[in-house]
């Protein structure tokens, strides 16, 4: 992968040697899956008529999302250290970087199995949105609310849905493993808030509500546009959109509200979740 500030085509490399052996136990499950033989693609009956181009784009973007999540947890680990968070939370955040990198490799290999990755231009200097807050605790809370309490909390139900409609054993297996990891990634957010919220004042909690609302609203473009069918891990919009709206209410709005963090209604309305949140 190229370093630097300009947009670059997304690539992943590994250097092997002692570093490969160190990582081996964490990524061993990848090699145990039933990958297609060299050069072959997943069977047509797993596609259910879905154009391969869509699956290629989706799995390439998934690999990028996982890579960006690795960067987010690296930032979170540093922020937790800076605010004196419990060390087991810090250790978990650091460990999640490894999870996300293995997920990135898994998604990359699925992209290969459905025809190869697309040329995805990415900006490596814009991996993680920096927190606006300067105070260490508020900065950590901002990163964690955005990443764990919104991103990872929504990822779990949506990847479960993706697994249900995968239509292929290999992809279902990959998604199942990723979901199992992401569940604990979301949980870190709630455990952190239970520790941190008593240390935050009303203004800080209100700001966290706005942070969560902004993160949710950023998904609005995902809910627009046309759509094809489901398969190979891709979810049809007729299934995806209502599930997303329900997930926002159940997995983000309510758990945050239970901790005194309210998301502004206008942010929820952008993704059609305002009504669901009140239900």
């Amino acid at each position: 992968m190229n370093a630097g500030g300009a947009a670059t085509v997304f690539e992943l490399h590994a250097i092997g040697g002692p570093w490969g052996r160190r990582l081996a136990p964490r990524r061993a499950w990848l090699d145990e899956l039933a990958w297609p033989a060299g050069g072959e693609l997943l069977a047509d009956d797993a596609r259910a008529g879905l154009p391969l181009e869509i699956a290629r784009a989706m799995w390439t973007q998934t690999a990028w999302s996982e890579y960006a999540s690795a960067a987010a947890f690296a930032e979170i680990a540093a922020a937790l250290l800076a605010c004196g968070a419990p060390i087991d939370l810090v250790a978990a955040a650091g460990d999640f970087v490894v999870d996300e990198l293995v997920h990135a490799e898994a998604a990359a290999r699925v992209a290969g199995a459905v025809g190869g990755a697309v040329a995805l231009e990415v900006a490596l200097d814009r991996l993680v949105r920096p927190p606006a807050a300067r105070a260490p605790l508020a900065a950590a809370a901002e990163l964690i609310v955005r990443t764990c309490c919104v991103g990872e909390a929504l990822t779990v139900p949506m990847l479960k849905l993706s697994r249900q409609v995968a239509g292929a054993g290999l992809i279902a297996d990959v998604l199942g493993r990723i979901v199992a990891d992401e569940a604990s990634h979301a949980q870190l957010g709630w455990w952190f808030l239970d520790w941190a919220v008593p240390r935050l004042d009303d203004a800080a909690r209100a700001e966290l509500g706005r942070v969560a609302g902004g993160a949710i609203a950023s998904f609005a473009p995902l809910l627009a546009g046309g759509c094809t069918g489901s398969g190979l891990g891709v979810v049809a919009c007729t299934v995806y959109d209502p599930a997303f709206t329900a997930a926002v209410a159940r997995h983000v709005v309510r758990p945050l509200a239970a901790r005194g963090i309210e998301i502004p209604a206008d942010a929820l309305a952008v993704v059609g979740a305002a009504t669901a949140a009140r239900a």
């Binding site: 190869g116 697309v118 929504l154 949506m158 950023s218 546009g225």
Partner: protein, 139 residues
């Protein structure tokens, strides 16, 4: 030192190539870390580019990407937006060539992994373009 390529984008002569699955053997055994260079006269030689073996060969049916717009001029950005509103989706895709990931209003990746939604081929270039505009204007 060799690196193992997990995912790369190869420009192939045809748009329907297949994936390679060659896995490279681990690099040669660990070596002692080099001592930091603390003497100004130390001669250093730039290492040769690390050879890579492709684990995941990927076809990339793309054309050259458009040059980035190096301006924050609102008028220029408005002209760009006007051009793209008027352009057919296929034309937009041909000009921008590469995909761009969805991003937030500041150009950062969306948090989590929520990109499993199916999007029609017609919608895809437009979506990619929206992200591209955000990136170009640095927001």
């Amino acid at each position: 030192m060799r690196t193992r390529t997990i995912m790369t984008v190869a420009i192939l002569s045809a748009g329907c190539g297949t994936s390679g699955t060659t896995r490279q053997a681990p690099a040669s055994g660990p070596t002692a870390p080099a001592a930091p260079a603390t003497v100004a006269t130390t001669t250093t030689t730039a290492p040769a580019p690390a050879p890579t073996t492709t684990v995941l060969a990927v076809p990339a049916p793309v054309t050259a990407a458009a040059a980035p717009m190096a301006t924050n001029d609102p008028a220029a950005l408005e002209r760009l937006a006007m051009e793209l509103r008027e352009a057919a989706p296929a034309d937009v895709g041909a000009r921008l060539a590469h995909f761009r990931p969805l991003c937030d209003a500041q150009g950062f990746p969306l948090v989590g992994n929520l990109v499993t939604k199916s999007m029609s081929p017609e919608a895809q270039p437009i979506t990619a373009f929206c992200a591209d505009v955000r990136t170009r204007i640095g927001r």
